[in-house]
Symmetry: C2
Subunit: 416 residues, 2 copies
């Protein structure tokens, strides 16, 4: 694989070697997202060597078999040139622009899945697998690296009601005004309203597409895609030209769940795609929220089901302030007037479940720690750390910054 | 206190000695509901001796002081005659018609309160106290003794919306059709709709009034009171003539919570009377349910708050079938199609929390047991038994009959 012109390289990514970019572009073309053997091989060999091995037919059998159908047509150089012409850049894990913070939960979940896969207990052809992307194609001024910090996934039915449209647009507007980035999938209905509300507030919004960024889907939302690209961020796992196949929508949902500090289902019918998004949130330890509506509306039935269920229920949210209380950093959000917090910190800590308590004890008061660092210090599985952090955050026991988590100021002061 | 004519006695209660009836009528006139010393004294001395002691000024100081304001005007004979003329009868704890099953939870809660009261940690002038009534005045063909078995409390805002009216009327109609008795307070708005829906289905409904039964309150609902008296049951703690003072509404709410297998809040504003009903349910171990609605409706805000809260949240219910699943006996209700139950009973039992597990082990497979019997066998506090039973019922692990609880048929078959 040859080198890129300096101009193109500067346009597509910063501080990453050309050979890495070309390798990731190649992998993103030949590999379908969520394939466990492919992801494990790239992680072990590194992108450049993995790409070379696959191109030369020397990769492990499963990987080679997976890549075979697209091997002949793969031309990473052309893909990068096409992308650059469209204003699309390639963001790779080797870059500082990669959303490490947001995707760490997928990395951890993938480790767990890799274990069960190796133990032969799970097929790798399940498109709902929580496997990190091999690369992300991005367009727009937004910075992918901050995703996962004060970001809200707002999704729901395409065939929504006026009530759902009103709630999605209004809350997205209000959240964007509070500096929260609204993430959605660019579909008709709730998704479009979520993007539009944030745009109306001149706030940040991220559209994660299931198809290549030259193929806005649905085509009727092409103008919306353009508007998001102008002031927010378009993201796709696939290179330009990738078609919007059904399974890619399911895979896309895992990215919305992972890159959002919390996800809100605004309207959903029973047994709809909301269940898929909900299971991603659950698996990744991300807060799931749902909006209630009239019991007479079929479009709220899926939300009510998620709120009602016994295992991992969604939190009912009735205002954007209640969402902000979940995804915002303590002190930054609007105060919840109904929430009478006890001031006895030690009693609060005693009430934590043992896992949350250990996670808390793995935090430091001053420096922000990444979840993997906390896991190491607490001697607890990384996934457990992800599950416990929202609890600690909701209880205002931790503070969230872009570099991770630390003990909240009010707790530091109290325990001094 | 003299004897009643045979006719009057037959009209006002069966199988209870005249002196008991007169004593209870007297106590119900001189004692305000929810007074701990009065209740404790009557329980210890018995109704007849307690009434004699109070009439003679020989009762303990606190009791005497409480009864003093109404002592001069007390005329139980006249009250019973007036009641009989109105078609109102007196139901007393000494009678088989007393709702022993429904009020057992109040008896247990009162025991607990008596302990904290004696320890000096609580005043007795709190009208929210869970103290059993001294007597109940009743009108209509309904049988008070079965209350608490397949009964739904349905309450909510007086200033409700058309949505709330629709839901209350429709669900009450559907529940009554399924043989569930709908209990409410006869107020404007949700309460009235709850009674009307059950009447429209020619089903059973119970109206618990905060005032004497000759004083329908609000007066605008007098016709509704009459209709309930014709085919259901009117109940009041006070004798004819008792005025509808504010604190009597709060005390009335505890009776709705106690006599209902579960209570549903249909619509409620934030910081409304719903909170009072909710705390009664919580205290008595009775399931609390709430109906979601548009987040844009202030009349659903109280319901959303109850569903959202971390401690003792209300269960969101989106259909009458979901209510029936909570209050109906297993096997009698409509099946929930969305509920995939595991068939591995032992695993289910292992997942129960320790208290629920002990309660389950206090049940027998064949004979129905009363909660106090279960408490004795399980070696666990009666209130804990009440808290655990709804969980076991929802999980279809127990069966409910009028005589109490036993192991569910599917469990008996499985563990044979």
């Amino acid at each position: 694989m040859g080198g890129l012109s300096t101009e193109t390289a500067a346009q597509v990514a910063d501080e990453v070697a050309d050979e890495v970019l070309l390798a990731r572009a190649f992998l993103s073309r030949v590999g379908e997202p969520c394939n466990i053997p492919m992801w494990a091989f790239v992680r072990k060999a590194g992108a450049v060597d993995a790409a070379r091995a696959i191109a030369a037919g020397r990769a492990p059998e499963e990987v080679q078999k997976h890549a075979a159908p697209r091997l002949a047509e793969a031309d990473p150089w052309a893909d990068l040139e096409t992308a650059a012409a469209l204003g699309v850049r390639l963001v790779v894990p080797e870059s500082d622009r990669w959303p490490h913070f947001g995707l760490a939960c997928l990395e951890f979940a993938a480790e767990v899945r890799l274990g069960t896969y190796r133990a032969g207990r799970r097929s790798h052809e399940n498109y709902g697998e929580p496997i990190p992307p091999l690369a992300l194609w991005a367009k727009g001024p937004g910075d992918p690296s901050t995703l996962g910090h004060r970001t809200v996934g707002m999704v729901g039915s395409r065939a929504c009601t006026q009530y759902g449209e009103h709630v999605a647009t209004q809350w997205s507007y209000e959240l964007a005004q509070q500096g929260v980035t609204v993430i959605s999938g660019g579909a008709y209905g709730i998704d479009a309203c979520a993007h539009r509300g944030a745009l109306a507030a001149e706030g940040d919004t991220v559209l994660i597409s299931a198809a290549g960024l030259d193929r806005p889907y649905p085509p009727g939302n092409a103008r919306l895609f353009d508007r998001v690209a102008e002031r927010g961020l378009l993201i796709s796992e696939g290179p330009p030209g990738m078609a919007p196949h059904r399974h890619r929508f399911l895979m896309r949902n895992r990215l919305i769940a992972a890159l959002s500090s919390g996800t809100v289902i605004v309207e959903a019918a029973r047994r709809s795609g909301a269940a898929n998004t909900a299971s991603h949130c659950q698996r990744l330890g991300r807060p799931l929220m749902a909006v209630p509506g009239p019991v007479t509306s079929a479009m709220s039935a899926g939300c009510h089901e998620l709120i009602r269920r016994e295992s991992d229920p969604a939190l009912l949210v009735a205002s954007s302030a209640e969402i902000l209380a979940v995804v915002g950093s303590p002190g930054e959000g609007m105060p919840d007037p109904g929430d009478a917090r006890t001031t006895d910190i030690r009693a609060e800590l005693d009430r934590l479940d043992p896992a949350a308590r250990r996670v808390f004890e793995g935090l430091t008061a001053g420096k922000f720690s990444r979840p993997d660092e906390i896991a190491l210090r607490a001697g607890i599985a990384p996934l457990e750390v992800f599950r416990a952090l929202p609890t600690l955050e909701l209880a205002d026991l931790v503070e969230v910054g872009e570099a991770g988590y630390r003990v909240a100021a009010r707790v530091r002061d109290e325990l001094k």
